[in-house]
């Protein structure tokens, strides 16, 4: 009998906290894995990487990180992370948040952190609903989807979060799903190597509250559905709005340079001190 092999992500996980809070089949643990894989492949020192998160299922990601982490208020992780980055610009600061946390209650901080180009790596776990509180509608719930607060189907159009942060000024923007393990890891690596505000949306399966009500099956079935629904931005460019209705457009949307916020604050200091 061979020894049990430990999951490769576990050395970055606070094992004393197991069992974790996530449901069987949930994509959040995969996103934890993708993030630590990117850190490992880049050879970053975990003691120089701070994870910040807000409230919700994805808000728990940061709290399992082996290094420094801060579990903050609902909607505010980007503002807390901005304070940390300004105080300690030499650290890598990663923010995990859900669609509710980052785009609804925290929507204002999302656009302003992007506008300021704060040097944060933001990973948005888009599971189309408020999982932790039982599956209410969120700003990314697709039209017509059933949630606990849209029993007749969602009548509100969803946000395109990548478009939103790109318009607001983010310097790196991409979207993948939990199915796209390697592209997602590569995107996180790229984001961690950029100075500015990086935003990676990862569409993730919420089996228990969203998937069940919308008859999407278990975790692997939902991931296969994401695979079928995904089109590249190049494919999307040739498709009509009607054809794109139930699609997830994946790929890198923005990769550009702009001065980073904490670096600009340091420049300002030099100027103010006449040096």
């Amino acid at each position: 009998m061979g020894e049990a092999v430990e999951h490769p992500a576990l050395k970055y996980f606070r094992k004393e906290r197991l069992p974790h809070v996530w449901c069987a089949g949930c994509g959040t643990g995969q996103i934890f894995h993708y993030t630590v894989k990117a850190i490992e492949e880049l050879g970053l020192d975990p003691d120089r990487v701070v994870w910040v998160s807000g409230i919700g299922c994805s808000g728990r990601i940061g709290a399992y990180w082996i290094g420094d982490n801060m579990h903050t208020l609902h909607g505010r992780p980007l503002a807390f992370a901005t304070g940390i980055k300004l105080a300690r610009p030499e650290l890598k600061v990663i923010v995990h948040g859900g669609d509710g946390d980052l785009a609804s209650i925290g929507g204002n901080h999302l656009i302003h952190a992007a506008r300021r180009n704060v040097g944060l790596t933001v990973i948005c776990v888009n599971n189309f609903n408020y999982g932790m509180t039982g599956g209410q509608v969120s700003p990314t719930t697709p039209l017509g989807s059933v949630t606990t607060t849209t029993p007749f189907g969602n009548e509100e159009p969803p946000f395109d979060l990548c478009d939103l942060v790109a318009s607001a000024g983010a310097t790196y923007v991409s979207r993948w799903t939990t199915f796209h393990a390697r592209p997602a890891i590569n995107s996180i690596k790229k984001a961690l190597q950029r100075d500015g505000f990086s935003f990676i949306e990862i569409v993730s399966q919420c089996v228990t509250t969203y998937g069940r009500r919308n008859r999407m099956g278990d975790g692997p079935q939902m991931m296969r559905a994401f695979q079928r629904m995904s089109v590249t931005k190049e494919q999307a460019a040739r498709m009509s709005e009607e054809e794109l209705r139930d699609k997830i457009v994946v790929g890198e949307f923005v990769d550009r340079q702009r001065p980073e916020f904490s670096a600009m604050k340091r420049e300002l200091m030099k100027m103010a001190r006449g040096g």
């Binding site: 975990p46 982490n69 579990h71 208020l73 505010r76 503002a79 304070g83």
Partner: protein, 384 residues
């Protein structure tokens, strides 16, 4: 820092400006705030003074962001502060509770204006005093100071940072529009003559599992590591065990709650400061805080000139409220008058302290202006 740009010596400043210089002298290196009258001169002055001393100013997108940035910067190792007024103070309450629960040192300035609602943005009131105490949800203790002069805007800014760093608790400066916009001579004390306090850092090297979150000591204040120094700390406002991890256990929750309260309450003698005069033989004591204390002092002096045995107590620290000390200060007085610029918020606390020994009454104004010395003197004459 080759060239210290801390201002020193005698200056003629507005209260809000003096407060900024006090904060800078205390070592404040981070400020985030959102525009709101009548606190704006604080962020305006911070925006040019902080970069000069190697600090960072951010105008937050709102008050929710501002308090969150301040807490984040504090965990990044900087002395951090925000300033606001009533409506913004309401928005910051969740963040203040987060700072209480995570024991984050930070200073929050509330330049109170007439309220509730939008009230009168340009006129002062002391309407947020109970909000300062109970604004955020749950049992908790904060420290709140009430400056009564431009000099005290400077001095109590220093004191607020010292208290906040020492006790790892948010410290509130509950000023109001009048003292904030008052101009007066102020001595900008040299940082070398200030006894500045710094939060206690872990005295062991990183790498070991350290108890940063819970202590067996019922009133202990744990050392505070800084992010990025290798201590691998998990910060969260969940009720927590020694490692900082969430718990649902009654005993552990109770232990945390009591420690967070007791670290303040057990040190109340050191924290709670009073200014007193004419108390030795006082039969009527006037209790006040903040700007209205200026009227109260005039009234007590005038009463003394008339031969009335009036005494004066000013609360410099309003929270934690030191009932026992106030009772002792009021001693044998048969009448205790509370003077404040609201319909009677701190009056209730004064009553709790002295009502068994003395008859109590209130002289209040609804804001805009403090009660006049004449109004207070009339009450003193009436009850003497």
């Amino acid at each position: 820092m080759s060239q210290s740009q801390t201002l020193k010596g005698i200056d003629y400043l507005q209260g809000n400006e003096a407060l900024v210089e006090g904060a800078i002298a205390a070592g404040c290196k981070f400020f985030a705030g959102y525009p709101i009258t009548p606190s704006n001169e604080i962020s305006e002055r911070m925006s040019w003074r902080l970069p000069q001393v190697g600090g960072i100013f951010v105008q937050g997108e709102d008050e929710l962001a501002s308090i969150a940035m301040v807490i984040g910067a504090s965990w990044g190792g900087l002395k951090a502060m925000t300033a606001t007024s009533g409506p913004g103070f309401s928005l910051m309450q969740e963040g203040i509770g987060y700072a209480c629960m995570t024991e984050t040192p930070c200073v929050i300035v509330d330049i109170q204006r007439c309220a509730p609602g939008q009230g009168i943005a340009t006129k002062g009131q002391q309407g947020d005093m109970m909000q300062a105490r109970w604004g955020t949800h749950g049992d908790h203790e904060v420290i709140a100071l009430a400056p009564a002069s431009v000099q005290e805007m400077f001095d109590l800014a220093v004191e607020a940072f010292n208290l906040s760093e020492s006790y790892r608790v948010p410290c509130l400066i509950m000023a109001e529009e009048i003292v904030a916009h008052m101009r007066d001579k102020v001595r900008l004390r040299d940082p070398s003559e200030l006894r500045l306090k710094e939060r206690r850092r872990p005295d062991i090297p990183p790498g070991k599992k350290i108890d940063f979150h819970q202590l067996d000591d019922e009133a202990g204040i744990p050392p505070m590591p800084r992010f990025g120094d290798g201590y691998r700390i998990a910060v969260s406002a969940f009720s927590r065990n020694r490692m900082g991890y969430p718990i649902t256990d009654r005993d552990l929750h109770g232990k945390l709650l009591r420690r967070l309260s007791n670290k303040i309450l057990n040190n109340i003698d050191a924290i709670a400061r009073f200014e007193t005069s004419f108390l030795d033989d006082a039969e009527v004591v006037v209790v006040s805080y903040g700007t209205p204390a200026r009227s109260a002092k005039s009234a007590v002096k005038a009463a003394r000139e008339e031969g009335i045995k009036a005494g004066y107590v000013r609360l410099i620290t309003v929270w934690p409220f030191h009932h026992e000390k106030l009772r002792a200060l009021c001693g044998g007085a048969k009448e205790v008058i509370t003077v404040e610029m609201n319909l009677g918020q701190i009056f209730g606390e004064v009553e709790r302290a002295v009502a068994r020994n003395a008859h109590t009454s209130l002289v209040s104004s609804p804001g805009v202006e403090p009660p006049t010395p004449w109004e207070i003197l009339s009450k003193i004459r009436e009850v003497a």
